[in-house]
């Protein structure tokens, strides 16, 4: 009985949240997540199999390795209206392709500085290491970036030309 009551309150809360989400003035950011096939994509799968709920704003694009990603891919995402980007790969030393995640890390350190140059806040692109065993961490990472982007508001319209 007690559980039922709790569930009802939770449902009511959720409905209220959803109503807020659907109103026009509530900002629902568009977040693109580039996940490596071996660690983070599997981590997202684990979050699913563990039925962990997380913010629905991300759209996952699977890549073999975070080392596969060119910074232009991220810039293109902003151009196409993304408000935030998550790039997530394997932990150092765990890369399925030996060293792709190290290449990615070096690339993003430089890219972060470029972001400011093109007028975007650094928090709009976030990087993380999520292993195939870290479904819980994946949920935390997604919820954090969603919260951060909500605080930042919509990305300024970025035009490559």
């Amino acid at each position: 009985m007690k559980q039922n009551a709790e569930r009802k309150t939770q449902d009511a809360e959720r409905n209220a949240q959803d109503a807020g989400r659907r109103t026009q003035d509530a900002f629902e950011p568009k977040i693109v997540a580039f996940l490596c096939n071996w660690c983070s994509y599997a981590g997202a799968d684990l979050a699913g199999t563990s039925r962990k709920q997380y913010a629905p704003n991300i759209r996952i694009i699977k890549v073999p390795c975070t080392g596969r990603l060119d910074p232009i891919v991220l810039i293109k995402s902003f151009e196409m209206g993304a408000d935030g980007i998550l790039v997530s790969g394997c932990h150092p030393g765990d890369c399925h392709y030996r060293s792709g995640n190290y290449l990615a890390r070096r690339r993003w350190m430089i890219f972060n500085e470029m972001l400011q140059f093109i007028g975007l806040e650094q928090d709009r692109v976030q990087f993380s290491w999520v292993s195939a065993a870290e479904g819980g961490k994946f949920v935390d990472v997604v919820n954090k970036i969603t919260e951060d982007i909500k605080k930042l508001g919509p990305a300024k319209e970025y035009n490559a030309s």
């Binding site: 629905p56 399925h96 870290e134």
Partner: protein, 657 residues
């Protein structure tokens, strides 16, 4: 013009509960290039697959998008179905709407909208798909087994019996692993050595097995079917081919007080030693950290007494490279260090020992010849406390998992102790008794009812010394009373952890491991023997704590996988590899440097007369693993990665705009 079919699976109710599949199918029907869009209760079922096959034929589909579970689950299933219907399997893509949507978002409006987005994304990708054919590569018909404990030995024997060559590498001087240290095994009380040593001898004598003991794998290159492995054979300082195993050297060695690994620190060995009398190979090894000849150039007794002149103080390490087709990882386990719990005083009090040390005391070939003499003063232990879950199931200490074998071996050790000290008293402190396994529960019951082991449910808080007794202070949680026992010996069932140095090895092999360092299996249910790397399999306790029958059966499983792989002459490889357009490539060498597999080479482009015009990169498709690093680093985008091309990534991004 692409003609794409979208197939949305209900997954019973797993997807349809939180996603309006009908609405999603209607929405998908309007996407560019989609000519067919349906939903069905179980797409992976045979009627579901037939739905796809028929649609391919009737609607002349050029692409298939299945919105269902993770591609890690059923991508091969649906690709096979497409192949059977005459469509190149690489025109089939999976939209992961179960793990990424229906299971993680409860709101149906949100779930449906996201599902539609995910399908649109995959439709856009599929529109840009290309026909791909499997790449064929030759297979080296030789297997490598790393670790020669019971799992490694069993895997090597099974592969060798199947007619393939095996290289068995062991880092210790003898094969046998932890099982060789044990006294008797659960639940039949077979003598461990008696059932293991015949297998050890078989492994050393088998014509298809090459044994490298006192050796380590230091480098691994290549890929499934074509690995190149470098093995370092550490110097034994004893010539294996000359030594007869007479044992004179270690009888005469003056360095007598060295705590050895095999006796787990409760027995002493010499500076030149064989780990146990049953060691395979029966060739001694010199401990270079304790031998005075090697350290200070004094002594040299072993060389003087050796009748065959096998001792060679100048011996150097040897580097061996081998071409290998498949690898079995059987690197085993270790126990937590003895300072893990300060309050138990292990390391401080000689009579607080761990399970392996007690096995050596119980063992007929151990330092006490099987008498239960306590390490501190050699007195027969009149009472013993066994503590289970020492480290295991303690999230605060970073080990939340159950070590699985301790319930059984603590019960067994208490029983064996009673067999040797009839008037003695054995107490077992436990959290739960987990005796799953054939004959295991009966074994525990026998220990309680017939052998008089006292089980106390509760934890021990502290152990300290009073006179020549150890005071064990704890709690009996069934009666709710504090308990204090004065005993002679305390045996800790310490948690199992991965072996030392294995992470470095796993990184060389590129296989994944979990947060504790146990090897990750490719799929927890359906691929428990495969690692994350094709052609590398696992066996035994390197995956997780495991008892002997589990380790042996998994080893046989790994061997059958290896035999199946090596039975083919050619290997079909997924065609998801990079190709470099020579017309665009400027030969800047960036990709060559970035490639983690050394799969790219600069090759000259010549005119008809043979003059070198310029250089351009070329990918060896056999070596390429398809990471796509070359695509990202190339300034002119000459490389592209089949399966996820530049065009496809951009198409996916644009679909979200």
């Amino acid at each position: 013009m692409a003609r794409i079919g979208v197939f949305i699976c209900h997954c019973g109710e797993n997807i349809s509960r939180t996603v309006d599949v009908v609405k999603a199918a209607e929405a998908a029907a309007t996407f560019r290039g989609v000519v067919h869009s349906v939903e069905y209760k179980y797409m992976c079922s045979s009627p579901g697959q037939n739905l796809i096959k028929e649609a391919i034929k009737e609607k002349k589909l050029t692409g298939v998008v299945v919105a269902a579970c993770s591609p890690k689950m059923h991508e091969p299933t649906f690709r096979r179905a497409c192949h059977e219907a005459g469509l190149n399997p690489y025109f089939c893509e999976i939209s992961n709407v179960r793990e990424q949507c229906s299971w993680v978002h409860e709101d149906k409006t949100v779930g449906t909208a996201k599902t539609i987005d995910l399908i649109r994304l995959m439709v856009e990708k599929t529109r840009k798909n290309h026909e791909l054919q499997h790449i064929k590569v030759p297979i080296t018909k030789k297997a490598l087994v790393i670790g020669a404990g019971i799992a490694g030995i069993q895997a090597a024997l099974d592969i060798a019996d199947g007619g393939q060559e095996v290289i068995l590498v062991e880092k210790d001087p003898s094969i046998g692993g932890h099982m060789a240290q044990l006294s008797e095994t659960v639940p039949t009380l077979d003598c461990s050595q008696c059932i293991l040593t015949p297998k050890m001898v078989d492994a050393s004598r088998h014509e298809n097995i090459t044994l490298y003991t006192w050796s380590e794998v230091i480098d691994v290159k290549g890929y499934m079917g074509n690995f190149e492995v470098t093995i370092r054979k550490n110097p034994r300082y004893v010539k294996e081919d000359v030594c007869t195993g007479c044992g004179l050297c270690y009888q005469k060695c003056p360095q007598k007080k060295i705590q050895g690994k095999f006796d787990a620190g409760v027995g002493l060995r010499r500076a030149i030693y064989v780990p146990s009398p049953q060691a395979v190979p029966n060739v001694p090894v010199i401990d270079k950290d304790h031998c005075t000849k090697l350290l200070k150039d004094r002594c040299g007794v072993c060389q003087k007494v050796c009748p065959t002149g096998a001792i060679d103080y100048e011996m150097k390490e040897e580097i061996i490279t081998e071409k290998i087709g498949a690898i079995v990882v059987a690197t085993g386990y270790d126990l937590i260090p003895n300072n893990f719990y300060g309050e138990y005083g292990q390391g401080k009090y000689a009579d607080v020992i761990d399970g392996l040390q007690f096995e050596r005391i119980l063992s007929a070939s151990g330092p006490t010849a099987g008498e239960i003499k306590r390490p501190s003063d050699g007195k027969i232990a009149e009472s013993v406390v066994f503590i289970k879950c020492v480290g295991s199931r303690d999230p605060a200490k970073g080990i939340p998992y159950c070590s699985k074998i301790c319930c059984m071996y603590a019960g067994k050790q208490a029983m064996l102790y009673k067999h040797k000290v009839h008037h003695g008293q054995a107490y077992v402190f436990y959290m739960d008794i987990r005796a799953g396994g054939k004959g295991y529960e009966e074994f525990i019951q026998k220990g309680i009812e017939e052998e008089g082991t006292t089980y106390i449910r509760g934890r021990v808080a502290r152990i300290f010394k009073k006179g020549d007794k150890l005071i064990v202070r704890g709690m009996d949680t069934l009666s709710g009373q504090k308990i204090e026992l004065a005993v002679d010996l305390v045996v800790l069932a310490s948690a199992m952890i991965p072996n030392k140095g294995v992470k470095e090895l796993y990184q060389k092999l590129s296989i994944s491991y979990d947060t504790y360092g146990w090897v990750s299996e490719s799929h927890p249910k359906l691929k428990p023997i495969e690692t994350s790397v094709a052609g590398i399999y696992l066996a035994g306790a390197c995956q997780a704590p495991k008892d002997i029958p589990d380790a042996v059966s998994q080893a046989s499983g790994a061997a059958s996988k290896v035999l199946a792989l090596l039975s083919k002459d050619e290997l079909e490889k997924e065609p998801l590899v990079a190709t470099i357009d020579k017309n665009i490539c400027a030969g800047c060498n960036m990709c060559v440097q970035a490639c983690p597999y050394q799969a790219i080479e600069l090759k000259p482009i010549k005119d008809r007369k043979g003059n070198v015009l310029r250089y351009a990169s070329e990918v060896n498709h056999g070596l390429c693993a398809g990471c796509g690093v070359c695509v990202a680093v190339c300034p002119s985008k000459a490389p592209d990665l089949a399966g996820i091309t530049e065009e496809q990534i951009y198409a996916e991004i644009v679909s979200l705009g």
